[in-house]
Amino acid sequence: MAREKFHLVHSSAVPVHIENVDTDQIIPARFLKATTRDGFGENLFRDWRYDSNNQPIADFVLNNPRYSGDILVSGKNFGCGSSREHAAWAITDYGFKVVVSSFFADIFKNNALNNGLLPVQVSDEFLAHIFSAIELDHQTTFTVNLETQTFTIDATGASFNFEINSYKKECMLNGYDDIDYLLNMKDKIAKFEQSRA
């Protein structure tokens, strides 16, 4: 089924300046009881965002009106831990289109790509520049161009060329998904099965 195509993203960013953000933090297990993909954004970073009385924790970045945008920026090893795709759903449902880190956990990266969420991996040094730029001006903007595979800090013009394999890039640009591809090769799969029997 066709997904939304990934366009150029030009936006301010929300910094979660923490390393090893695991998927239990992104969406705690107790919110995984749903049987649909909707509504997980409400509980994104639940236990950092709300206290035990469900009151917003003022100093968490998602509760700070100074920060907004389509881009989530976080420390290295983002998305480690559980394979729950609900983590990618929570991030997209909240409204993010891009997540930036200097290092992503493998399963999370696949889950993000399968949901039209672009994981942009930059160097530790460039990540530090992004955090500094946001600190300096919380509404500073960035440009994510998937076609040219560049992430640009608009204020300074500093740009990072990020990697993505060309197949996944085509999928994101055109809104294709893997299931469509696989469904089109069912005959080949059946032949493969026969060849092993």
């Binding site: 239990d24 236990d47 480690c80 394999n165 197949y167 090769m185």
Partner: protein, 465 residues
């Protein structure tokens, strides 16, 4: 041409198509599903008007979100009941084998697969759960996937995956008294960090792994994901074959012998090249415990929490945040610290050998007054075996609460949660913030260490008892 690793041999034999500068289309021999990560995948099939492509290659059991008491009664939590019912409904609709609640084979999916002989060497195995790496203990390529990927496997029995790099971790030598599989893997992760294996598929080699039982090997492979690795495996040998022999879905008679002959070809060629190689000495490994909020934050149980000066400058903020959550200070000694809960269970350490080890330790003893001790068997079969072997009687006499099979407090999806601020020594796999309940403080350790803590009420070196 250089030889192949066992990972290469299995992977290459399952590639249906290689996409240029893209992922491989990989055939999946065995798909395991549970209630939490499958409903949206089945909904996707329904939306496309598709049926499950190969129903004989999928097995389902509810585990993450089941209560561990009163399993014979309707599930009280409405959302949980709905989710578990949804699995039943989807399996019936699509003709998928289901070991539902109260079925004698129900249990944690990674305990069920091996004990029924579903898990076999040379297979590709996936499940919408990161601890699918457990099955690598049999010399299979097993890894966790997301729900969109569950849908792909249901629809086509294939996945699109980029091949991981190869890492070999060799541990040679004899393990000391009181040191087991859990300590080996916690030790390795503490050395290479929670992201040290990201991008790799790990092969565990060396005498320390060879000498482990299958259940010990499962504990090791289970936690491969905790160093970020895509999966981990151990080449199959006689220990593997003897474990599989006679199990329900294992090949029988001449078929078994033929299978074993094929399985014996699953080893890494002497001239194969790895992208990374690590070596450790088994003699350096001692009983381990974690002090922080990721599985890489582990130390020898006799050691002190690292001082700030021992932590790399760039990691100090995360380190301080972690210790603050755990209510610990840098340099603090853990031995003697009071603990509130002991949890024995999970796909890491909820098997019969784990229960036997705990029972042997606590036999004739009592849990400490300050401890709430939960024992959660990994499956109905483990539960039954524990009863038959008299382990249940030992646990009850010692004041432990024996609960019914499921993931339970490992991830706190059901009612089994550790209260805020309380310390739990757990045999599970993750000590993330809130993993065992909001505000819960988890310390990961082996079943023997957990048993020692339950009896003394505080962190203690099991070798001292």
């Amino acid at each position: 041409m250089a030889g192949k690793t066992i990972f290469d041999k299995i992977w290459d034999a399952h590639v249906v198509e290689q996409i240029e500068d893209g992922p491989s289309v990989v055939y999946i021999d065995q798909h395991l599903i549970h209630e939490v990560t499958s409903p949206q995948a089945f909904a996707g099939l329904d939306a496309r008007g598709l049926k499950v492509f190969r129903t004989n290659r999928t097995v389902a059991t509810p585990d993450h979100n089941v209560p561990t008491i009163d399993q014979d009664k309707p599930i009280r939590d409405e959302l949980s009941r709905f989710q578990v019912d949804k699995l039943t409904e989807n399996c019936q609709k699509h003709g998928v084998t289901l070991y539902g609640l109260n079925h004698p084979y129900q249990g944690i999916v990674h305990v069920v697969g091996p004990q029924l002989g579903i898990t076999q060497p040379g297979m590709t195995i996936v499940c919408g759960d990161s601890h699918t790496s457990t099955h690598g203990a049999f010399g299979s390529v097993a890894f966790g996937i997301g729900t969109s990927e569950v849908e792909m496997v249901l629809a086509t029995q294939c996945l699109m995956q980029s091949k991981a790099k190869r890492m070999r971790i060799t541990v040679d030598g004899e393990l000391g008294e009181g040191v087991g599989a859990k300590d080996i893997i916690l030790y390795i992760i503490s050395k290479i960090t929670a992201s040290g294996g990201t991008g790799y598929f790990v092969e565990y080699a060396g005498s320390a792994f060879r000498n482990l039982t299958m259940e010990g090997r499962m504990t090791v492979c289970n936690m491969s994901i905790e160093m970020g690795a895509r999966g981990g495996l151990i080449a199959p040998d006689d220990t593997t074959f003897e474990y599989i022999r006679g199990r329900e879905f294992a090949p029988k008679g001449a078929d078994f012998d033929a299978a074993v002959a094929k399985w014996r070809e699953l080893y890494t060629d002497a001239d194969a090249v790895f992208d990374a190689e690590l070596h450790f000495d088994a003699a350096d490994i001692e009983p381990m415990i974690t002090y922080g909020t990721n599985p890489g934050m582990g130390i020898k149980i006799t050691a002190n929490v690292p001082a700030l000066s021992e932590i790399e400058e760039s990691n100090r903020t995360s380190f301080a945040k972690s210790l603050d959550y755990m209510g610990l200070v840098p340099g603090e000694r853990l031995l003697g610290k009071t603990v509130d809960y002991v949890f024995v269970g999970s796909c890491t350490n909820g098997r019969i050998e784990d229960l036997r080890a705990v029972a042997e330790f606590v036999k004739g003893k009592q849990k400490a007054d300050n401890i709430t001790a939960w024992i959660v068997p990994g499956s109905k079969q483990v539960e039954k075996q524990a009863q038959e072997e008299g382990l249940v009687a030992i646990f009850e006499a010692a004041g432990f609460q024996l609960r019914q099979p499921g993931c339970s407090a490992c991830l706190g999806m059901n009612e089994d949660k550790i209260p805020k601020g309380k310390y739990a020594v757990s045999t599970s796999n993750r000590n993330f913030e809130g993993r065992q309940g909001p505000g819960a403080r988890t310390m990961l350790a082996s079943p023997i260490t957990a048993a020692a803590v339950a009896v003394t009420g505080k962190i203690v070196d099991p070798r001292d008892l």
